[in-house]
């Protein structure tokens, strides 16, 4: 990585960290529920196995993608980032506007723990599945934002740091992390990934962006403004329909 490429490094690591914070919070709720229904040890084993599988996937696919021709890689990853990032941003806008319900960790935990007790094996499998499914998105983000510039390792470390933070907080509190502002984080990550998507797709198509890497910040600002304005507009129009 060029030492001055911070305009790329910071959004890449930041996206991975924030996305991981969101997904780890959601996964932690399900793991905690599995642990309380079937025991902490099997849930911990299931969690560790899923994290190991995800880290292995990143460690294999990250360097492997470096072998793909740069323009083709940028175009493919750029389009996937657009599809994924704009999907997250759209959902965050709808939640911010009050049209979709916010993710409620306490309610999810209550619903999960309201079921009958799990055997140890089932608790481990439930934790494994929860971490694997929630972690897929983080693994994709780490691979995608790191592709082409060899940034998958710093992005992976950012994601790992967020996991450790959630795990540390969760184990200290021993309850779901209901106060994590998930939608605000999702809004930020959706914005950054959409900006990355436009940037990579454009580079893959042979577009030389004015300002080079600095264009990424401009794209991010535009997506953020458009997202906030749309959420505000939808919130206001909803209030007019439902006084």
């Amino acid at each position: 990585v060029h030492p001055l490429a911070w305009s790329i490094v910071m959004p890449a690591v930041g996206s991975a960290f924030l996305a991981s914070l969101v997904e780890a919070t959601e996964a932690f709720t399900l793991v905690l529920a599995a642990a309380s229904l079937g025991g902490g040890r099997p849930a911990a084993i299931g969690t560790t196995a899923a994290l190991g599988l995800l880290a292995g996937a990143v460690a294999i696919f990250g360097p492997l993608l470096e072998q793909v021709p740069l323009a083709a890689l940028q175009l493919a990853i750029g389009v996937l980032l657009l599809l994924f990032g704009m999907g997250w941003l759209r959902k965050a806008i709808l939640r911010a506007a009050g049209i979709l319900a916010l993710h409620d960790e306490a309610a999810i935990f209550a619903a999960q723990t309201g079921r009958r007790a799990l055997g140890g094996w089932m608790a481990g499998l439930t934790a494994f599945k929860a971490v694997l499914l929630e972690g897929l998105e983080v693994a994709f983000i780490v691979i995608a934002v790191g592709a082409g510039r060899g940034l998958w390792l710093p992005a992976g470390l950012g994601a790992g740091a967020a996991c450790l933070l959630v795990l540390g907080l969760g184990l200290a509190l021993r309850r779901p992390l209901a106060r994590v502002p998930e939608n605000t984080l999702k809004f930020g990550v959706g914005t950054m990934l959409s900006a990355f998507g436009v940037f990579w797709t454009g580079e893959g198509l042979g577009i030389a962006w004015p300002g080079e890497d600095a264009a990424l910040a401009v794209f991010g600002a535009l997506f953020l403004l458009a997202g906030l304005a749309t959420a505000s507009l939808l919130r206001r129009s909803q209030r007019e329909v439902l006084p």
Partner: protein, 71 residues
């Protein structure tokens, strides 16, 4: 087998969760590609790509909001 099926469903949902948004994005990238590669107008293609993506995300949110309001 169930886990593999869930993983596959999660992967499809990650990128194609909103079919209209996905289709519009793919069409937009195709148009930007034509402008950049065959019309020799890369900056115009960049502008179309950026503004098109902003329009798609706003349009997708508004479309869903209208659908929810009709329910």
């Amino acid at each position: 087998v169930t886990i593999l099926r869930d993983v596959a469903a999660e992967l499809v949902g990650m990128f194609l969760g909103d079919a209209r948004l996905a289709l519009a994005t793919l069409l937009l990238v195709a148009v930007a590609g034509v402008l950049a590669r065959w019309q020799g107008a890369p900056l115009l293609a960049g502008g179309v790509l950026l503004l098109g993506c902003l329009a798609i995300v706003v349009g997708a949110a508004v479309h869903r909001a209208r659908r929810e309001a009709r329910r």
